[in-house]
């Protein structure tokens, strides 16, 4: 459905960030890319959605295909029109707009106003909290509500593929569970395909079918989620990290990385 073939991404004409990344996303499944901070996960998603260009980044090698059509080089809003939409890291709701106005903006590609209303109804069915907050300025929603809104807003364009960038970031575990359960439900009921980027490997591998591990701009490990869950490196590196939790242990991780690299 979506495939990245050996792509390279360069920022500002000189900073090489992705060094030959290949990823296959199969229809109707959740595929995940795991990796530490700075590995290049977000850059990968931006390369697909086409927003890279507004950050002076460029796909310099390889190709990105979506439904058999090359999409690298398309402008972001054209990619969205094809049915592929990105949910940004850190939510990035239109904070001066109300919840419902965010959804209306997300449905910009819909031709008929009737479709916009239908989609809003569908989003409210999946995320009833958004309905309660429909007229509230979205900048004042809680982090969890903003994440739901960011996902809901992306659904408005009736996408085939959603690129989800670290939806668990900074949220309480309960909320993360709720959001992930909804994503799973969407995949099942709305025939959605998801490419999920996460640092939280435990959670991601629970809902994903297939996974990739990215490090330093390269894919260093790939396999079925089940297999990755039982992989001892992943266990030690990510699942272990998550038990300790967050930033404090990042130094140790780096240290660990120096000693032992994937696949070496």
């Amino acid at each position: 459905m979506l495939s990245l073939n050996n792509i390279e991404v360069v920022y500002d004409g000189v900073i090489l960030v992705l060094k030959g990344v290949s990823v296959q996303v199969r229809e109707g499944e959740i595929t995940t890319i795991l990796g530490a901070n700075g590995a290049g996960k977000t850059t990968t998603l931006k390369a697909i959605s086409g927003v890279l260009r507004s950050e002076r980044g460029e796909v310099t090698k390889g190709s990105i295909e979506f439904g058999g059509k090359r999409i690298d080089g398309l402008r972001a809003f054209d990619v969205t029109r094809l049915g592929l939409v990105q949910v940004f890291e850190g939510r990035r709701v239109f904070e001066h707009l109300t919840t419902e106005e965010n959804l209306i903006a997300g449905g910009h590609t819909q031709r008929e106003p009737r479709r916009v209303r239908e989609r809003i109804g569908m989003v409210y069915d999946y995320f009833p909290r958004l309905k309660e907050r429909r007229d509230q300025q979205s900048g004042y929603l809680s982090g969890g509500e903003q994440q739901m809104l960011a996902i809901g807003r992306a659904l408005m364009s009736d996408p085939k593929v959603v690129l989800l960038d670290e939806p668990s970031l900074g949220l309480a575990p309960m909320l993360v569970e709720e959001i992930f359960a909804n994503v799973q439900k969407l995949v099942k009921e709305e025939k959605l395909t998801v490419l999920l980027v996460e640092q939280n490997a435990t959670l991601a591998l629970e809902i994903a079918r297939h996974g990739y591990v990215m490090e330093n701009g390269r894919i260093v490990l790939e396999g079925d989620a089940e297999k990755l869950r039982s992989n001892s490196d992943i266990k030690e590196f990510y699942l272990g990290l998550n038990e300790v939790g967050g930033r404090t242990s990042y130094r140790d991780v780096k240290h660990y990385r120096r000693r032992k690299r994937w696949l070496s």
Binding site: S54, A76, T80, R92, L97, A105, H108
Partner: protein, 299 residues
């Protein structure tokens, strides 16, 4: 206060408010562009001047009917601002803000130089068929053109408020103003909305130009109204439509009161002084204006 004093105050207020609505209308052109594209247009006053010349020439030399002259001014200003965005400003996208500011300052100077070198410096009339019987509101009386101006300004504010609140395009435009990158990722053609914002500023400038030119007579001094835009938008907030309305009214009224009560003592000039004094005070105490948007900080 005697009833005569009250009458004087009322007249100053009404007069100030009606002029203030004109300031608000013209400031609206500035706000629309800033809100959607982040560009600061220092040539807003010159846009107004250009429109007033177009209408005056179409009426005077072309002998067109008034409605045709007004439509011509509107069409010209849409085309002009559209072209400006496309040819001059779009290539500057992503460059430091100061590049756009300098470009519009340069444009302003050029536009002001244009009439004297092409059609001469004399003042031209731009008569609109609104009669010349003053309209009385209690102790105040207003020239009819000022009443028409006030009504047009109010209509525009109602229309734009509806557009931004209720129409899908208006909501999309606010999304662009909020976050361009995300708007683009939602399938919104950001550049098209930039062009739309400029075109809307063109319409506002055209109507402002016809009205203001008709009140003042058309020559390069029409552009001076551009200088009122800054206190108005600083007061109201650079990106707030309601703010432009309130800011315009406040500046108009402050000017009028200053001219009425202070000028007799200092010998004139407070009209131009007061708005800027107010602007500096606002900058000191409320840098984002009365209604301007603050960055939302959440914990």
């Amino acid at each position: 206060m005697s009833s005569e004093d009250l009458g004087f105050l009322w007249a100053l207020l009404v007069n100030g408010a009606s002029i203030g609505l004109m300031y608000a209308l013209i400031a609206l052109g500035f706000v629309l562009v800033y809100k959607a594209t982040d560009a600061i247009n220092f040539a807003q006053g010159e846009f107004v001047m250009l429109a007033s010349f177009a209408a005056a020439l179409a009426l005077g030399i072309g002998g067109m009917p008034v409605i045709a002259a007004v439509l011509l001014a509107v069409a010209l200003m849409i085309g002009f601002s559209f072209g400006l965005e496309r040819v001059v400003l779009r290539p500057l996208l992503g460059r430091p803000v100061v590049a756009v500011i300098m470009a519009t300052i340069g444009l302003a100077a050029m536009l002001r130089g244009l009439p004297p070198i092409t059609i001469g410096g004399e003042t031209r009339a731009l008569p609109l068929p609104v009669g010349d019987e003053p309209v009385r509101l209690g102790a105040a009386s207003l020239p009819p053109i000022q009443v028409v101006g006030a009504i047009v300004a109010v209509l525009f504010f109602v229309a734009f408020t509806w557009f931004f609140k209720k129409s899908r395009m208006g909501v999309a435009m606010r999304a662009v103003a909020d976050n361009q990158q995300v708007a683009m990722a939602m399938g919104i053609n950001v550049e098209r909305y930039f062009a739309l914002a400029w075109a809307m500023a063109g319409i506002v400038s055209a109507l402002g130009g016809v009205l203001w030119g008709s009140m003042l007579g058309v020559d390069v001094h029409v552009a001076v109204i551009g200088l009122k835009v800054f206190p108005v938008v600083i007061l109201g907030g650079l990106d707030s439509i309601g703010g432009a309305l309130v800011g315009g009214l406040i500046i108009g009224i402050v000017e009028s009161l200053a001219a009425g009560y202070l000028d007799p003592y200092v010998g004139g000039g407070t009209k131009d002084f007061a708005p800027y004094l107010l602007m500096i005070l606002v900058l000191m105490f409320r840098p984002y204006g009365i209604f301007g948007k603050r960055k939302i900080e959440r914990v």
